[in-house]
């Protein structure tokens, strides 16, 4: 069985090409995020999985919801994309497509999303310092997202995609435990 994102990749790439051509990266990202959220809904998942509903009907259902949620958010290309996905029974892949699209967009815009997990909320100066340090390391514009998790104990964990920089007290304690336990 191929990975979900392996199947989603060609769709995301094609869509990115179209969006870039028409200079609509922003609107497309929003539409994808919204539709991903819709198909992730438990009730919607059941509808999508049902073999009783024809692909065309599925597309109509989804388009109706999207129109209601964000009136005028979808142009003809958008509608076509949803219909193509429905025809291939790939509507369930929308979350993966959205994620891959986001990654392609970030790469093109030379930006990166970095999540900082710390034990206490970070103040402005600290946030700026983290952002600067990460910009230097990744050589990209950094969008910083802050999360607070008391389990970190102290320090911070930085996360950008697969890369994790663990400077937390908890991580150090875990490493110490592994070292002593050997």
């Amino acid at each position: 069985m191929a990975d979900k994102s392996t199947i989603a990749r060609p769709y995301a790439k094609a869509l990115f090409g179209v969006a870039l051509e028409h200079k609509k990266l922003g609107p497309w990202a929003q539409t994808l995020a919204l539709s991903a959220e819709v198909v992730s809904d438990e009730r919607m998942k059941k509808v999508l999985a049902s073999p009783l509903i024809a692909p065309a009907q599925l597309a109509d259902v989804l388009l109706e919801i999207l129109d209601a949620a964000a009136p005028g958010g979808l142009d003809e290309q958008g509608r076509n994309f949803i219909r193509t996905l429905a025809a291939n029974r790939r509507l369930g892949l929308l979350p993966e497509i959205a994620a891959l699209f986001g990654r392609l967009k970030a790469e093109w815009e030379n930006t990166a999303d970095v999540t900082v997990i710390s034990a206490v909320p970070l103040d402005e100066t600290l946030q700026r310092r983290y952002a600067e340090a990460m910009e230097k390391r990744l050589r990209r514009q950094v969008r910083l997202h802050c999360k607070v998790d008391p389990a970190v104990l102290g320090g911070a964990v930085l996360r950008a995609d697969d890369l994790v920089i663990d400077g937390s007290l908890r991580g150090r304690l875990e490493r110490l435990a592994a070292e002593v336990g050997q």
Partner: protein, 512 residues
């Protein structure tokens, strides 16, 4: 093992002092599926092939499949605590095992952890389990012998240091017995031995270790055990781990001998891993790279020259060659050597010792088929005395086999044929040897000289074994000095008269 509380706190203290806390940046992924010890991990974009991956709970895995969106890895050890969503980190390291002299006398698992309850192994060095074999420029041809202590083998299929000689045969034909006797016979020869047990019963391994201890052979031996109950991944890496431990001695200008018992089971373990990783199955459901699996392992058995040793030891050891002799074992099914793995390993090695069930059951032990057992390079390493005396043995047996088949149809045979048949029978008898009774070069020479020169012609064929035993006992008690002289300088020319004298003395006085 009892440790005092104060020792423990000292140990912890030193660990904490040595502990370097650096903020590490690592590639992280999440487990998607866990099936039979195989983990599929999403992410880990920077993982390298064969890299160690760190799972939660101080468990490690090996990255074996690098795919577009995921990494397929085998977990080394227990995997019950790993679940979907567990985080996996790259370590940036290739799998390593401890190496060094401290391992001698110990029983370890595929990762070098002690299994014998004799406490921690205080090695200071580690080495990666996968290594490229020494290149052409670093090698030297085989020129020194490894004495197995078996007349039949040392005379007809001699093994040299650095050679790879396959031991092949059905189950219960004495493959392991041959290997163990070879280890026992290395006592005092300076050759360090590594016995890698793969997919065997724990009881068999315990038995081997006990026998080695009984014969005082554990002091120069490392046992790497991956029994049938250990995960397939551990069985797969066991030979590589053992080989790395052996290479340590080779690199330091010493001689080592490694026995892989057996590679069939290792191929099975690898087949299991490959199928679970969804690699396409080929012949006999083995993956496409099963030849490479064994060739890259056996290629690491080598004899290296003085420059290589000097280079690897940074000039500490000069003017010494190193060697790693490989004795892979392959188990055949109903004597089928044309199966996939046997043909592969036969083509990789420098010869094979073929053990047959029919011979074994007929009481000919070691059950070696002298016709199809060969050693392609060992002849150059054979001692002079055995080489000269053993030449006739091979020929006599070959002619005997030919005539034996032919003589079944003929009622009366001419004198020359009868003589040839009689000699063949005697040679076959004289080649029999008990387990755990390895012979020295001098003892072998004595027996070979006796049978070659017609001293056994008048002995009843059923009495040949007794005759030989009595002759050996006689020589040991009355001519110990002569035997020692032969062992010290095994050249036929110098000792022919002595051999003749021992046998003639025995024929006149000895009883059997």
């Amino acid at each position: 093992m009892a440790i005092k509380a104060s020792e423990i706190s000292d140990l912890i203290k030193s660990r904490i002092e040595k502990f370097q806390s650096t903020t590490d940046a690592r590639n992280v992924g999440t487990v998607i599926t866990v099936t039979d010890g195989i983990c599929r991990v999403h992410g880990l974009a920077d993982a390298r092939y064969g890299e160690m991956l760190e799972f939660p709970g101080n468990t490690f895995g090996l990255a074996l499949n690098l795919e577009q969106d995921s990494v397929g890895s085998v977990v080394l050890g227990e995997y019950k605590h790993i679940s979907e969503g567990s985080t996996v980190k790259t370590t940036g390291r290739i799998l390593e095992v401890p190496v060094g002299r401290e391992l001698l006398g110990r029983v370890v698992d595929s990762l070098g952890n002690p299994l014998d309850g004799k406490g921690p192994i205080k090695t200071t060095k580690t080495a990666p389990i996968e290594r490229v074999a020494p290149g052409v420029m670093h090698r030297k041809s085989v020129s020194q012998p490894v004495q197995t202590g078996y007349k039949a083998i040392d005379s007809m299929v001699p093994i040299g240091r650095g050679q790879r000689e396959l031991i092949i045969g059905d189950r219960q034909t004495g493959k392991t017995a041959l290997a163990i006797d070879t280890i026992i016979n290395q006592k005092g020869s300076g050759i360090k031995c590594i016995y890698v047990a793969i997919g065997q019963k724990q009881s068999s391994i315990a038995n081997v270790v006990r026998k080695l201890e009984e014969h005082g052979a554990m002091d120069h031996t490392i046992v790497v055990a991956a029994s049938a109950s250990t995960p397939a991944a551990m069985q797969y890496i066991a030979p590589y781990a053992g080989c790395t431990m052996g290479e340590f001695f080779m690199d330091n200008g010493e001689d080592a001998l490694i026995i892989y018992d057996d590679l069939t089971k290792q191929a099975w373990a690898y087949r299991q891993i490959s199928l679970l990783l969804k690699r396409p199955p080929g012949r006999e459901a083995y993956p496409g790279d099963v030849f490479y699996l064994h060739s890259r392992l056996l290629e690491r058995s080598a004899r290296v020259n003085e420059e290589y040793v000097e280079k690897t030891t940074q000039g500490k050891v000069k003017g010494k060659t190193g060697s790693l002799t490989g004795l892979p074992v392959i188990e055949t099914q109903a004597g089928d050597v044309t199966a996939f793995v046997p043909t592969n390993v036969i083509s990789i090695t420098d010869g094979q010792i073929f053990l047959e069930g029919d011979l074994f059951n007929a009481g000919i032990r070691p059950a070696m088929n002298a016709g199809i057992s060969v050693s392609r390079v060992g002849g150059a390493a054979q001692t002079d005395i055995i080489k000269k005396l053993g030449g006739g043995i091979r020929l006599a047996l070959a002619q005997y086999r030919e005539l034996a088949a032919f003589s079944q149809f003929a009622s009366d045979l001419d004198a020359a044929t009868r003589r040839q048949l009689e000699l063949g029978v005697r040679v076959t008898e004289v080649m029999k040897q008990k387990q755990y009774a390895p012979m020295s070069v001098a003892e072998m020479a004595l027996t070979l000289y006796a049978v070659n020169n017609g001293y056994m012609d008048k002995v009843d064929r059923k009495k040949v074994v007794d005759f030989e035993a009595a002759l050996q006992a006689f020589a040991r008690s009355n001519h110990a000095a002569a035997l020692k002289a032969i062992n010290d300088k095994p050249v036929l020319k110098e000792h022919e008269a002595a051999l003749k004298k021992i046998i003639e003395d025995f024929v006149q006085t000895g009883a059997y």
